[in-house]
């Protein structure tokens, strides 16, 4: 360990303040602090500090994503082979999926981190760890056959327009990963929707029909899957969104470590359930809709990107509501709108992406009213006093 430390200090020497490559210090610092918690001591304020930092927080989210990612890799291969009538071993299915997905992750991290480093150097601040999560989320919510250059372009759009244009980490209004998906969705709709993109190689092989459950329902066809399949996730869909089980495992870690807000997750599911129930009870007597209207509310909770969106995207603390009460309202509305868009708009059977982006925009407004209640309380306290002195 001492040896590595010494070597690192040697490497870092030309990047110290006043030296030749001072400007590029954030880049080497990012690598250094990845190995070591730095020796920085407190200079002002409290002399002692908590062990937590942003790296630890972000890595916890990455850990929470691992079950869904591994399942996604396996399911990609499994869907591909079973639709061809084969029954693959776990390893075969996993390798098929990994072969497709790992390059996407490499592209996402490569392009995104290069941009992050460039902006850190340009703006003279340290590299923020937020992209560790964003960079993994982006491939996980894409259809498996999307070309790598589209992944790269989506990443560039998300980082530049979604994040850096607003001032970088902590300032963005929209969730960067969803911004990337929304970009790809609207820019390349043929690769992002329809019934030929959700199973690996469905567009090139005739034997595979890769329709998602939501797509099937929107087209008023019958669904061939049971609720249990939908819950475990052995269904077609974006790479890691399918397994509600694995997503809940991640959610458990997020909630236990308090990295993800339980308020948002719980109220999100409740909102979705409420909307589903409303459609189930009113059904076609009030609305003229499609098969999604009568789709049982509990099934709504386990198909599509709802669970993934609520657990991993809605809880992004920067773009979510920031007050405790605000989080409950924010989560609830995401669930509510997610199902509403899903049911009413067959062109976008996956409403959760749009619902979260919409609520990202409204989160500051929710917070404003929550905080305003506190302000009003304070002003009210002032009132009797002015009366007394008057």
């Amino acid at each position: 360990m001492n040896w590595i430390r010494k070597k690192l200090d040697e490497v870092k020497a030309p990047f110290q303040p006043g030296e030749k490559y001072e400007k590029y210090a954030p880049a080497v610092n990012a690598l250094d602090t990845f190995l070591f918690v730095p020796n920085h001591t407190t200079k002002k304020g409290a002399h002692v500090r908590d062990a937590v930092d942003l790296k630890r927080t972000m890595i916890t989210v990455v850990l929470a994503l691992i079950p869904a990612l591994i399942f996604g890799m396996w399911n990609t291969g499994y869907q591909h082979f079973t639709q061809l009538g084969e029954s693959p071993s776990f390893i075969d299915a996993f390798i098929h999926g990994a072969w497709k997905i790992v390059p996407m992750i490499i592209v996402s991290y490569g392009v995104g981190l290069a941009l992050e480093f460039a902006f850190a150097i340009m703006r003279g601040h340290e590299v923020n760890e937020g992209y560790l999560v964003t960079g993994l989320l982006i491939p996980m919510i894409m259809p498996v056959d999307i070309p790598l250059w589209m992944v790269a372009l989506s990443v560039i759009f998300a980082v530049l327009i979604g994040k850096e244009a607003f001032g970088g980490t902590g300032m963005n209004i929209l969730n960067p990963a969803l911004t990337a998906r929304a970009f790809a969705f609207f820019a390349y709709p043929t690769y992002m929707s329809g019934n030929k993109v959700w199973v690996s190689e469905a567009s090139t092989m005739d034997g595979i029909t890769g329709e998602t459950i939501l797509g099937t329902l929107a087209a008023n066809k019958d669904v061939a899957y049971q609720t249990a399949d939908m819950f475990t996730g052995v269904i077609p869909g974006s790479i890691s969104e399918t397994s509600t089980l694995c997503i809940l495992a991640g959610a458990l870690l997020l909630i236990l470590t308090k990295v993800g807000s339980w308020r948002i997750i719980l109220s999100g599911f409740i909102g979705a359930a409420v909307m589903g129930l409303i459609f189930n009870t009113l059904g076609n007597s009030v609305f003229t809709g499609n098969g999604l209207m009568n789709f049982p509310w509990y099934n709504h909770l386990v198909v599509g990107g709802l669970a993934f969106g609520i657990v991993f995207m809605a809880t992004d603390p920067v773009s979510a509501a920031q007050t405790m009460r605000g989080k409950i309202i924010y989560g609830f509305l995401i669930g509510l709108f997610g199902i509403m868009i899903r049911v009413f708009n067959p062109a976008y059977p996956e409403g959760i992406m749009l619902a979260i982006l919409l609520m990202n925009v409204f989160a500051p407004t929710i917070d404003y009213y929550v905080v305003q209640a506190n302000v009003n309380k304070r002003k009210k306290r002032l009132k009797p006093q002015t009366v007394k002195t008057a």
Binding site: A46, V52, S261, P317
Partner: protein, 447 residues
């Protein structure tokens, strides 16, 4: 009269290095210093020259903009040196003490029978005014104000600090007189915060509204007490007084002597003789500190709000403890991984330290990370017992939006109320500094 205050939101920090409950007479310090920077925002004008002879209680300097508040010498002796910094700013006035301290006689006065005006003028003319601090803004009290209430907290909930009840145990008579003095300085009440389970005399004092405090830090902070009793509104003034300072005030009214007795708890893992030492305000640290491990940080005050001092310097004016902890200038390989390095305390559940709520942690000055953008939400609220939105207030201070700061409760807070926010926040932002800058802006813009 008494009132119970039970604080829920906060954080109990238990660190290694508490002082043993042994009170020792500190060896007499040769030199003493009064440091004008200890009194926030004053502009000192000296009234003595180097080489002058002073008695304990003789004026050393006054503040340019409020000349009623006098700053007096804690000992008798010779003014040895006036230490100046950049732009000739006065940093310290050092006094070489006599072997036997002789006191200036201010004459005794019964605070309950004298007129309010007499009491007040005695307090401010004898140098006791500096013990009164004003909220909002955390500055010295202005002699012309009449505060809404006066608060004293005799229960310090911060980690590894001096136990105020232990410090006050032999000072009942003076403390009661001091409380009596305070009641004459305000139209409102004098509140005294006491630990709920305590059975000391503090609970039986007269003329004070007793607040029984329970809960984690910052339950004992005066800011919390004020918030739970009479929160400060725009335009109001509240004064606060340190617990031991009340006894100094009382003693001067009873005996006429300015006896600046200060009990200092030496705490922290790096200090080897962790005890309570009876000395005087402004004493030389070396006179009582004893053996200390190398590469340590000396903090006058507690580890959350104190100020770093050099080992050859003097204890700060208001502080009841000298915390000495190891410097954390070392690297920890992969220390940022979740659930690793659980020996470093964390409020976050990404460390397993929450499984051992009764464990005492070693603590050093490592920042445990680097400053980042504000990302995580909700953690500041967990340690903030006041009914304010800490992150929103901090952001308002950062952008200097005065109306927003007022609306969000800037008048109710001083930096120490944000000490735990400093400690817990993931992004390692300096909350206390941001609040201080916000208050400074309020002073210049609103006054």
């Amino acid at each position: 009269m008494s009132k119970n205050v039970k604080v829920k939101r906060g954080l109990k920090l238990s660190f290694k290095g508490e002082a043993e409950k042994i009170l020792e007479e500190a060896p007499v310090s040769k030199n003493y210093a009064i440091k004008p920077p200890n009194f926030y925002s004053i502009v000192p004008k000296t009234t003595v020259k180097e080489g002058a002879k002073v008695l304990a209680g003789d004026e050393l300097f006054y503040s340019k903009y409020s000349d009623q508040t006098r700053f007096v010498s804690p000992v008798s002796g010779i003014v040895k040196e006036i230490v100046r910094g950049a732009k000739r700013k006065i940093l310290e006035i050092r006094i070489e003490a006599d072997q036997e301290i002789s006191y200036k006689d201010f004459g005794s006065l019964d605070p309950l029978s004298a007129s309010e005006k007499e009491v007040k003028s005695k307090v401010f003319s004898s140098g006791l005014g500096v013990f009164l601090k004003q909220r909002p803004y955390d500055i010295l009290a202005n002699a012309e104000d009449s505060p809404k209430a006066i608060y004293v907290s005799a229960f310090n909930t911060a980690p590894i600090v001096g136990d105020l009840e232990f410090i006050l145990k032999d000072k009942q008579a003076h403390f009661q007189t001091g409380i009596n003095v305070l009641t004459r300085l305000t139209e409102g009440k004098v509140y005294l915060g006491v630990e709920a389970n305590s059975n000391s005399y503090l609970k039986k004092l007269e003329n004070a509204e007793i607040i029984n405090i329970s809960g984690p830090h910052p339950a004992g902070n005066v800011g919390t007490l004020i918030h739970e009793t009479e929160p400060i509104n725009q335009g109001e003034r509240v004064w606060t007084v340190g617990a031991e300072d009340v006894a100094i005030i009382g003693e001067l009214f009873s005996t006429g002597k300015y006896n600046a007795e200060r009990t200092v708890a030496v705490t922290g893992e790096s200090a080897k003789n962790r005890k309570y030492y009876k000395t005087l305000i402004g004493a030389e640290i070396q006179s009582f500190v004893g053996e200390v491990e190398e590469n340590s940080r000396f903090i006058s005050g507690d580890v959350l709000t104190g100020e770093k001092v050099e080992p050859d310097n003097f204890i700060n004016f208001y502080d009841n403890e000298l915390s000495i902890i190891p410097e954390g200038d070392n690297y920890r390989m992969f220390g940022w991984l979740p659930f690793k390095d659980n020996h470093v305390h964390s409020m976050s559940k990404t460390s397993l330290s929450w499984l051992f709520p009764n464990k005492k942690y070693s603590v050093n000055t490592n920042l445990n990370g680097e400053e980042r953008a504000l990302v995580v939400t909700g953690e500041m609220e967990e340690v903030m017992p006041l009914d304010i939105y800490p992150m929103e207030l901090l952001k308002a201070c950062m952008i200097g939006d005065i109306e927003k700061m007022e609306n969000l409760g800037i008048y109710e807070v001083i930096p120490e109320d944000f000490a735990l926010v400093d400690y817990v926040n993931t992004s390692k932002i300096e909350a206390q500094e941001i609040i201080r800058n916000g208050l400074d802006l309020m002073i210049t813009e609103v006054g």
